[in-house]
Amino acid sequence: MRSLLAHSRLWILLVAVALAIAACADDAEDVTDEGPDDEDVEEPEDEEPDDEEPDEDAVDDEPEEDTGIEGEAVSIMTPFADDEEQANFLSTIEPWAEEHGVEVEHEGSDDFETLINTRVEGGNPPDIALFPQPGLMRDMADAGDMRDLDEVLDLDAVEDSLIEGTLDDGTYEDEVVGLMYRLNLKSLVWYPVPEFEEAGYSAPETWDELEDLTAQMVDDGNVPWCIGIESSGATGWPATDWVEDIMLRTAGLEATDAWVEGELEFASDEVRGAFEHFEDITGGFSDEYVLGGNTGMVTTNFGDSSEPMFEDPPACYMHRQAQFIQGFFPEEVQENPEEHVDFFPFPPIDEEHGNPALTAGDIASLFTDNPAAEELVQHMATAEAGEPWAEAGGFLSAHEGFDTSLYPTDIEQRQGEFLTEASFARFDPSDDMPAEVGTGAFWTEIVDWIAGETDLDSAVEGIDESFPE
């Protein structure tokens, strides 16, 4: 006790310092505590733009120099993981960023969905995110994490500019929360040109012709299809694309939308019929019709599955896959695509429904009220924004008036034309279904069905049961 008294002054000082540090620590904790709490922080912020900008047009009309966004930063999260894709994406953003003196922080990941979930739930969303699937985007919009783009964009003008139906892809409960940025065209069948012609085959224009062609190939002792549906945790999606493409052609847009809503059951004649068409054209997934048969389908990675088509002689002659698959073709094909490969549109089945386009794409959503990010979204809504990427290849614009001559190859130019001429475009229906179905039961049941572990009846029933009540 004595020594304590003797040093009492020193003690008081130390205690004071310690208390000060402890207080600092408390402050720091408070800051991090509040950060993640969306509801406290974001709600008042969400109201701000409403107060400040009652007139939407005012935002658009303001001269860009006056917005005071210079020196600001915008964070963007995308599913673009490889270097080339990232560079291409940034080529559409950077000219704008330089002009406005805005710093763009880009984070691309091939585990985008897990990452964005963690970031948003942790209360630390990026300013802008590009969703490869509208399903997750809508879930987040449902949780109230997203901005209504009506506050930021002149939606009428955007709708006029976009290909019919694409604005719907970013719509959630009558609010536009996403903006189609890059389009993926799925309804394509690829074939190796020289070998195809040498064997005396020609690109079919109708489903009947396609059936005849596959039958002829089998007669010739050739395997018509290369199909791989393995894709790690997402295994099955290439097979669902087949069914969806057929569905659009046999049942039309309205029935497809009813199907997405859960109003048209998987067990209905329409949807079952699409499954059956798929089974028929692939000869019941037998190894005469599909390389490796059904086991080959479920074990071959979608990215690797097109490769045997370019062997000599080709191990298969046709591959139905979106335009992005070109990036997976062997190097010598990619260097000189026009000599090696071509596509024909997935043929129409029922005349009534014409030749629709099944699409996917990357949809931009805005999470914050960062003014620089708002302006960037306005930039991204223009057709011109995509031009640098379009010229580099691998980018199809969602804008109707987009100059297709900008696309670097004949193949891409014809894809662009197919898109604008298609009777209608529809985003991958399974991506629009509730996650339990679209990325759950639909994938698992179709894989089990193809693998021969369940029959079609129990597969479609299993999917129907997974619809949330």
Binding site: I21, A25, A28, E29, N117, G233, L291, G292, T299
Partner: protein, 326 residues
Amino acid sequence: MGQFGGAIFAIAVGLLGALAFYWLLNKVVEALPPAWENRLKPYVFIGPAIVIVATFLVFPALLTIRDSFHGSNAEEFVGLANYRQLLGDGSVWSLLLNNAIWIVVVPTVAVSIGLAVAIMTDRLSSTWERVTKALIFLPMAISFIGAGVIWRFVYEWRPPGRPQIGLLNAIVEAMGFEPIHWLGTSDLRLNTLLLTVIMIWLQSGFAMVLLSAAIKGVPDETVEAARIDGASEGQIYWRVVIPQIKSTIFVVTTTVMILVMKIFDVVFALTQGRFNTNVIANQFYFELFQVRHQGRAAVLVVLLIIAVIPIMIANIRRLRQEEALR
């Protein structure tokens, strides 16, 4: 200050704050009469740890149990619907069966191999003992996901007539048979058993190291006494050595068992649970990240917690008995 600088600052402040906090509490307790000082001091140091563990372990566990009675975004109360949905669906019983296979096969085989190797290497010269043990222990250094990728190349299947890059199928084909789709063959749960082989490969080394240490700890006198009494080598191991290392065997078995209950990486890397190889942790990942149904994901965690509890209790009991013997 960027996000990174802010994070560093927060960590520094937090650490200093924690140090100051302990230091201050300690001083306060030291200022008390000695009797009280002794009584309170342990709590000063253990108390905050207990609070932290409770916050980050017990509290989330309780939240998980709460979530398991809620819907897909953990908001609306749905009662037992998630449980009914999962347990009423035949596929969950199938994955529980797979987990059961894992729990029985891996610890049993890994510990048996580990024990056999430990016994046999015990008789080698010290150089060879070291070499053999190192070889068996080596896979322990590989991550589960890495091991999964390695073994993919063993089980890989390609359509007949195409180059087989999988080791097993290359052999099968060289012998003149059609390649077998190993991971797709769920007859007698062959594929699950093939997956457990990977885990056995990984865990035998762990079992061996601990068991070998235990064998070395068996007093020579007891072995010599048995030998003088005319016991055969087999009898010495079964009647003298093994009873003395029983507790180590038990601990190793339960450790491997708990590890295996959470098995995820190996299954995810090779089959993602397809072809009837699904397990609880993999289904959990599926429900949470793919289907985004927090309620059902929580149910699976609760099932896992319930399954681990008996083993934990057995382990703690065992530990208490041993403490009591000392």
